[in-house]
């Protein structure tokens, strides 16, 4: 039944807060929620310059998974994936969590070998993973062409049964509503223009609606971390690349799993609505422009038709792109920057969505206790100076 009740009451910021979170995306709202609910911080503001979820939170491909490689980060990604399970109940909001399984196709023996090696690391970390033969894949995805017809035939796959999808808008509003219920002020249209630092300590932020004082500022700004860097006079270890995503028109259900090809940079899933989401890879050059291109769309169409020839009638009806802040080691930057009271949760590249619950939980813990939680220690900024880069492979 239609309701005229607003889902969420946005607020005007007050003059001072205990914690200010810059960025009203999934990470920022999740951090606010965990801070208010589990660390009992009373006065929290989330400042968003556009609308909530206007950045990467509204521009991702809804994929959740933990099939990364670097052993020091696997416990974190594993926990993030597990946290999605209980979230609908905790936030009292259906996030449409669907652990439908992720099938990553291999097209050559070396690639298969690399996937086996990766699977071993993951299994050691307690992540459920299996290798599949083409025949086994065919049983799960009957529409997939496993013949020799494609230029790069399917020779096997890595199956990650815990991987799947979560509805990104549902997650965003779930966290926003839950945060607001616990007394967080969510302020949209408030753009942070500067961070005030006195004697190496954060004192507040300047915004388009005036100065707001706070002893603790947390930046969860997705693809805009370099702007925060400029406010505090430093460079960040990131380069911004756009990622283009496309959807087709709605069709009858035929695809039960998330199918990806890491080698060819494409992945697809059929949403509950029936359209296919076609994801890809970063654009090949740095850009702050969330444009979409004919080249990417045609590339995506070509690749999916190689493996799903029955889709020749499908049309791409919508495209969008989002900005990804990528570090050289495919790992994010979390924790402090050497300024008292300023913490970061940035540089999440194209794997920020799936990590949302863990980022919120551990960013909140870091803000509340001042101690870097064990699970996010590998993501500290000083790893770039201590020769402790995360040994992640690009996936």
């Amino acid at each position: 039944m239609a309701t005229t009740q607003k889902l969420l009451q946005f607020r005007q910021p007050e003059k001072s807060y205990d914690v200010i979170i810059i960025g009203g995306g999934l990470h920022g709202l999740a951090t606010a929620y965990y801070l208010a609910r589990y660390h009992h911080v009373k006065r929290i503001a989330v400042l968003e310059r556009r609308y909530i979820g206007s950045g990467g939170s509204g521009r991702n491909t809804e994929m959740v998974r933990s099939n990364k490689r670097a052993h020091e980060t696997l416990p974190f990604y594993k926990e993030c994936l597990a946290m999605w399970d209980g979230l609908s109940a905790e936030l009292e909001w259906n996030l449409m969590v669907q652990k439908k399984g992720l099938i990553a196709l291999a097209h050559s023996d070396p690639e298969l070998a690399s996937m086996r090696m990766q699977s071993d690391s993951q299994r050691r970390a307690g992540i459920e993973i299996a290798m599949l033969s083409p025949e086994e894949i065919k049983k799960m995805v009957p529409s997939l062409d496993i013949s020799d017809r494609p230029a790069l035939p399917v020779v096997g796959a890595q199956y990650h049964p815990e991987g799947g999808t979560v509805h990104h808008d549902a997650a965003l509003w779930g966290y926003a509503k839950a945060a607001a219920r616990h007394g967080v002020d969510i302020c949209v249209g408030v753009e942070v223009t500067g961070i005030n630092i006195q004697g190496g300590k954060v004192t507040g932020v300047d915004t388009n609606v005036g100065h707001i004082a706070a002893p603790q500022v947390h930046a969860a700004v997705g693809g805009y971390s370099s702007e925060i860097g400029r406010m505090i006079g430093m460079n960040f270890p990131v380069t911004t690349f756009p990622m283009q995503v496309m959807t087709t028109d709605v069709m009858a259900p035929f695809l039960d799993h998330y199918v990806a090809s890491p080698r060819l940079h494409f992945y697809t899933q059929q949403t509950l609505k029936g359209d296919l989401i076609l994801g890809g890879h970063l654009d090949p050059w740095q850009s702050w422009n969330s444009y979409t291109t004919w080249e990417e769309a045609s590339e995506r169409a070509f690749k999916i038709l190689e493996y799903f020839p029955d889709l020749a009638h499908a049309r791409i009806v919508r495209t969008w792109s989002g900005l990804c802040d990528c570090t050289l080691d495919s790992a994010p930057v979390m924790g402090g920057v050497g300024i008292d009271g300023l913490s970061l949760d940035v540089a999440w590249g194209y794997y920020g969505f799936k990590s949302t619950p863990g980022c919120g939980k551990y960013s909140a813990e870091y803000i509340a206790t001042g101690q870097m939680p064990e699970k996010i220690k590998p993501f500290a900024l000083d790893r770039f100076y201590n020769r402790q880069l995360v040994r992640e492979i690009i996936l």
């Binding site: 370099s226 960040f236 270890p237 990131v238 911004t240 740095q286 850009s287 422009n289 004919w294 570090t327």
Partner: protein, 79 residues
């Protein structure tokens, strides 16, 4: 295609022929400390607006070239 790159050897070409090589940065002097090298290697200005950057003409002449491109609008300034 978002823009064309003017290669000194091959003329104006499709950017998909090139490999993006990142923003131009000044390498530290010889004998610089480790921090300077880490800053040079890993940290970027990454600022919307015009920047000098490296491109490699992989599917063309095989030369490295520098261009000045606005990374927010993809406008290129040719000298």
């Amino acid at each position: 295609m978002a823009f064309l790159i003017n290669c000194p050897n091959c003329g104006r070409r499709n950017p998909y022929e090139f490999k993006f090589g990142g923003e131009c940065k000044n390498a530290p002097e010889q004998g610089a400390d480790m921090k300077a090298w880490c800053d040079y290697l890993f940290f970027n200005e990454n600022k919307p607006g015009f920047q000098d950057e490296w491109w490699y003409h992989a599917m063309g002449c095989g030369d490295w070239l520098k261009i000045r491109r606005n990374i927010a609008t993809h406008e290129i300034i040719e000298e």
